[in-house]
């Protein structure tokens, strides 16, 4: 998009937070299809940034730039710069495994592994070489506390994670991410498979997590973006179905005083 859609961090009310994630003129292609076009924005540290937009506009693809999950799709190609703490992520020397320890991800459908609650949370630390049982127990308890799940599962740590409710499963997945000590948590429509009560719990959890972590959430639920996020980015498809950034700003500004006509149309429900 044009230059005037780019918002420097000092204009957005969170000037005291330094930039954690940044994209600069990013284009994403799947083979010949362009999924994202010329996206530039800066996301502040220890804040919640929401990415909203109609279905198929590339929200999830955008989110997956930051932990390089798009790499898994053959034919995916990124142009431009994607940064974490000023370091470019799409370089040959970047260790994707280390990156994913720093940038965790929670998926649309809760995906606990078919193993016990304890083993789910301990999965990441174990893969990174932690074998000491006492140390693992401490990590599991801390992560479950952090994910506001400890009180509900402390007596069933050895039971199958698949026996938990959907909302509990999603918080377990959040605990699983927290256990590897990330700095950023990417959430891809984390509540779309949950009922309203479970959704509220996750939203409360996000708010408390944002004190320590940088959170980016993709959501098709505008009320949710308005409730939880500090910053909001609005993406839309162009004629060729490539996603573009229409507007980016503080959540209050974007929802009360959108600068772009298309943003206004979207948030007032005129399309999407």
């Amino acid at each position: 998009m044009t230059e005037n859609n780019r918002v420097p961090p000092n204009d957005i009310g969170l000037g005291h937070n330094k930039t954690k994630l940044r994209t600069e003129r990013v284009n994403l292609y799947y083979e010949a299809f362009q999924a994202l076009r010329d996206i530039s924005l800066e996301m502040p540290e220890r804040a919640i940034t929401a990415v909203i937009g109609p279905s198929g506009c590339g929200k999830s693809s955008f989110l997956r730039l930051f932990n390089r999950m798009n790499d898994l799709i053959s034919g995916a190609r990124v142009e431009g710069r994607v940064e974490l703490d000023g370091t470019s992520l799409y370089e040959s020397y970047i260790d994707v495994v280390e990156l994913r320890k720093r940038v965790g991800m929670v998926f649309q459908k809760p995906n606990p592994f078919p193993m016990s609650v304890f083993d789910n949370v301990a999965f990441g630390p174990r893969r990174h070489g932690k074998k000491n049982r006492a140390e693992l127990e401490e990590i599991v308890e801390r992560s479950l506390h952090h994910a506001a799940l400890w009180d509900e599962v402390k007596d069933k740590l050895e039971q199958s994670a698949l026996a938990l409710s959907g909302g509990q499963q999603q918080r377990l997945c959040i605990a699983r991410v927290l256990a590897v000590g990330p700095e950023v948590i990417l959430m891809d429509e984390p509540c779309s498979a949950l009922d309203p009560v479970a959704t509220l719990k996750i939203e409360d959890l996000m708010t408390s997590l944002a004190e320590e972590y940088t959170i980016v959430i993709v959501t098709h639920n505008m009320q949710q973006a308005a409730r939880v996020s500090d910053m909001t980015a609005f993406l839309m498809m162009e004629q060729d179905r490539a996603g573009v950034l229409v507007e980016y700003g503080t959540t209050s500004q974007l929802f009360t005083n959108p600068r772009d006509k298309r943003t206004e149309d979207y948030i007032t429900g005129r399309f999407g």
Binding site: R100, N111, F123, R127, A179, V180
Partner: protein
């Protein structure tokens, strides 16, 4: 008009239903009949002597112990040579190989290999293992030959079992910084294992019943003792059945049915084992 239309729909519904039931009966009844016939005619022959003694008088007297043990050895050898390679190939083809024309060609070739007539595998084994590699007519050559045949089926079923593991599990694992191999080792394989084992057991049960390939690479018509090394010849149940049924004049009918019953029991045991494994893992996954 409307009523007649409704009646004709009902009629076609009944016809289809009847045809389906008829087809099922046509399949099931002969199978049950064969099994019952073999049991009725063979059960009288089965006793301790028949199972535990070596044959004498060209199989007309004595037992079939060497053939039972030979089949067991053969299964073991086939398992050793086919399962590890088959599973590793299945993992490579699903998780690591790029999805291009070469991979697709290989997958298609493997599926077609499963349909190659078994005597062709036998001739291949004779040419390669017995003659070119100088393994001679032996247990080893026969195991390798049957392993080649079992490989196709094991790779195919391993691929299907691995592909059936939900993508969400892989993503969840990779997203916490597990490597590709860690994801395969700790998430994909444990999930796919029941399917892999089921496929392997069925492939083995098929190999247990093969006569044609082992005929040309090492099965013996008669041995008084057991094979002492992998380079010895061996007796096997299906080949023994073939010889007593077709090549020995004056063979008591009851002996033939007895051998058939033992072979059937061995193969059925494998099939039941596969069913039990599948059932148990299904319970573990969906039950409490």
């Amino acid at each position: 008009m409307k009523a007649r239309f409704g009646r004709s729909r009902q009629l076609s519904q009944r016809t289809a239903f009847g045809l389906l039931i008829l087809a099922t009966i046509i399949v099931v009844v002969p199978a049950l009949f064969i099994i019952a016939y073999i049991i009725i005619n063979g059960a009288g022959t089965i006793d301790w002597e028949f199972l535990a003694q070596a044959p004498s008088q060209a199989g007309k007297a004595g037992g079939i112990f060497p053939a039972i043990v030979g089949t067991f050895y053969l299964m073991l050898g086939t398992l050793i040579f086919s399962l590890p390679i088959g599973v590793l190939a299945g993992i490579y083809l699903t998780e690591y190989a790029r999805d291009n024309w070469l991979t697709r060609l290989i997958n298609m070739a493997i599926m077609n290999l499963a349909g190659v007539p078994s005597i062709v595998y036998g001739l291949f084994g004779l040419g390669v293992f017995v003659l070119a590699l100088h393994l001679g007519m032996s247990l080893l050559a026969a195991s390798l030959t049957l392993a080649c045949q079992a490989l196709a089926m094991i790779i195919t079923t391993s691929r299907e079992a691995i592909l059936a593991v939900p993508k969400g599990y892989r993503e969840g694992s990779l997203a916490v910084g597990a490597t590709k191999w860690q994801t395969v080792r700790h998430i994909v394989l444990p999930q796919a294992l029941p399917g892999i084992i089921t496929g392997a057991v069925l492939a083995l049960s098929r190999a247990a019943g093969e006569t044609a390939p082992i005929l040309v690479v090492g099965a013996a018509f008669f041995m008084s003792g057991l094979p002492q090394s992998p380079f010895d010849q061996f007796m096997a149940l299906p080949y023994h059945l073939y010889t007593v049924a077709a090549n020995v004049p004056g063979m008591p009918k009851s002996t033939m049915w007895g051998v058939a019953l033992v072979l059937l029991a061995v193969v059925l045991c494998f099939d039941i084992l596969a069913a039990v494994i599948r059932l148990r893992t299904r319970q573990r996954r969906y039950g409490s």
